[in-house]
């Protein structure tokens, strides 16, 4: 055996080594990384490392799942879960803290943060379950309603939604045995969401009726400013969420007009978080994967996005769930649980079927959170926190080569997840001063940065103008 390689032998071995390194992740995961996934989504460019899957990366037992009453979350039932006395104490503490920090000029809670917070809630379009009455239907124009294949409709609605301000878009077909269970049984205002064999939707004081023929759901993300989200848990972070909801109210209203203009129904969220379970519908539509946050993490923006939906009778080609290795990475990472000041998130290595309380919806294998701990911390800081979002390694702006490398590796194999988490710990070691209400990133620096993208969002994500 030769001990000294010739140049030719060396180059040959080098080529073999390169090929080995390239193919190793595929061999480990059993995936063919060169197999272009043509079914990824017929409608939108997604990163090349995002693979579609017949089922989501979160296990679901549809037989055990029931349509959920939204007001059973801590949004609607916090006082019931913690008791009136504690609820009153937290309300008093919230008022005191916000008032004290305002007067102290605490970064993120100053007058300008409060003023911007109020401002971002203004100018939203009317929000309703039913389409407005003044829509211009094809009938009014003297033409037939739009017709085309479900695939054509999906492309058309995607183009419209992107133009109206959505980030990524997917579609779910409602099946009474499965996905229909993701539509609420009762909305946040306790109105019963009835699915009935009627021609037109209706709404009264107690009920919202969805016609059975409306079997398709458009689901979309609206990304949020990462920079202001990372000012968590301050007013500046909270107003980012508020602004996204305000922006979406316009998107929802415009989509309702658009669908009516084509001759179809567009049944929207009657209020914030109404109609159906956003993370679940987002998962089924392939916008992202469920995670340790028990929320959606998207390949494009990580968790720093909001998810919205609308039911329609326009047949839309469903998009498939995805597997980008995100849920698998969450099993190793646990960074959000570490960052969480109230320790509300699960530290378990594997997701479980066992819920943590009556605020959780059973029937899926998840990292269930203790929502009362989370909500109690919100009340103490007077905002909606968001520190778990800032902790997530996927909540990055993806300009550095490292992010793309990490995402591709996470998608290809779980072998390097621990090592990648360790690198992320070096890059993002955590809040410098984790005292109550102290921001993760300095809000005052953000106030002095005047050249950020519009809405603080990289709107070129997923763009292809070729």
């Amino acid at each position: 055996m030769a001990t000294n390689l010739t140049r030719r032998e060396f180059l040959k071995d080098l080529g073999l080594l390169g090929a080995g390194i390239t193919l190793a992740p595929a061999a480990v995961s059993g995936a063919d990384i060169f197999d272009w996934d043509s079914q990824k989504t017929p409608v939108l460019n997604r990163p090349s490392w995002v693979n579609t899957s017949a089922v989501p990366t979160m296990e679901i037992d549809w037989d055990k799942m029931e349509r959920w009453r939204e007001w059973r979350t801590t949004r609607g039932s916090f006082a019931e879960y913690v008791g009136k006395e504690r609820d009153d104490r937290l309300t008093k503490l919230q008022t005191e803290n916000l008032d004290r920090w305002l007067k102290q000029n605490k970064p993120g809670y100053t007058l300008k943060d409060r003023a911007l917070g109020i401002a971002t809630g203004q100018g939203a379009g009317a929000q309703g379950f039913l389409q407005p009455k003044d829509v211009t239907t094809p009938e009014k124009l003297g033409v037939s309603k739009w017709t085309g294949s479900p695939e054509d409709a999906a492309v058309m609605v995607t183009a419209a939604l992107r133009h109206l301000g959505a980030g990524t878009i997917g579609f779910v077909e409602l099946d009474p045995r499965t996905t229909e269970k993701l539509i609420y049984a009762e909305d946040p205002d306790k109105k019963v969401m009835k699915i009935a064999d009627v021609d037109q939707p209706t709404e009264d004081d107690k009920t919202r009726v969805i016609p059975k023929k409306a079997r398709w759901v458009s689901v979309w993300t609206v990304p949020m400013s990462q920079e202001t989200t990372k000012a968590a848990p301050t007013v500046l972070c909270q107003l980012t969420t508020g602004l996204t909801y305000t922006l979406n109210r316009s998107i929802q209203l415009r989509l309702q007009y658009f669908l009516a203009g084509l001759g179809y129904l567009g049944l929207g969220e009657a209020s914030t978080n109404a109609l159906g379970i956003s993370p679940a519908l987002g998962t089924m539509a392939g916008l992202g994967e469920m995670s340790r946050l028990n929320r959606l993490i998207t390949p494009e923006w990580g968790p720093i996005t909001r998810v919205f939906k609308m039911i329609t009778d326009l047949p839309l080609a469903p998009t498939k769930p995805i597997n980008a290795g995100i849920m698998q990475f969450c099993k190793v990472c646990k960074k959000c649980a570490d960052f969480c000041p109230s320790k509300a998130l699960s530290f378990d290595t594997e997701p479980t079927w066992q819920v943590r309380g009556p605020w959780n919806n059973a029937g899926h294998k998840a990292f269930y959170e203790d929502s009362t701990k989370c909500r109690a911390y919100w009340r103490q800081v007077g905002t909606n926190c968001g520190l778990c979002f800032t902790a997530c390694p996927f909540g990055t702006k993806n300009q550095a080569f490292f992010h793309e490398f990490r995402n591709a590796l996470v998608s290809a194999t779980p072998v390097f997840d621990s090592a990648l988490k360790a690198v992320d710990d070096w890059l993002n070691p955590g809040p410098a001063n984790p005292e109550l209400g102290n921001p993760f990133k300095d809000p005052e620096k953000w106030w002095k940065t005047t050249n950020l993208p519009i809405y603080g969002i990289n709107t070129s994500t997923g763009v292809s103008e070729i």
Binding site: A400, F402, N428
Partner: protein, 99 residues
């Protein structure tokens, strides 16, 4: 645009380096060129990640990436240059046979 300019600069400097070592009769082994290319690869990665993290408004992470990728670049570069220097010095000090 900056990457195009950098690419052209690397090409020109690389060409000049090869010509210079030949003109000066400095012997460079193939594995020494390889080490130099690896050092260059790490340096480019360090540069891209450093500036991209700064653009992402993450100066701390930028510094970490500069260290994580810049140090290997430096080590490979030092080894490559050191080997060339050591081997050429050794040759220069060895008395020529049958002179």
């Amino acid at each position: 645009m900056w990457w195009l300019i950098l690419g052209i600069a690397i090409g020109v400097i690389g060409w000049w380096l090869v010509a210079w070592t030949r003109a000066k009769k400095i012997a460079v082994k193939w594995y020494e060129w390889l080490l130099a290319v690896i050092a260059l690869g790490f340096a480019l990665l360090a540069l891209q990640n450093y500036y991209a993290f700064l653009r992402e408004m993450e100066p701390y992470s930028a510094g970490v990436m500069l260290a994580l990728l810049g140090v290997p670049a430096l080590i490979f570069a030092v080894i490559a240059v050191g080997l060339v220097w050591w081997e050429n010095t050794k040759v220069a000090k060895t008395p020529a046979k049958n002179s």
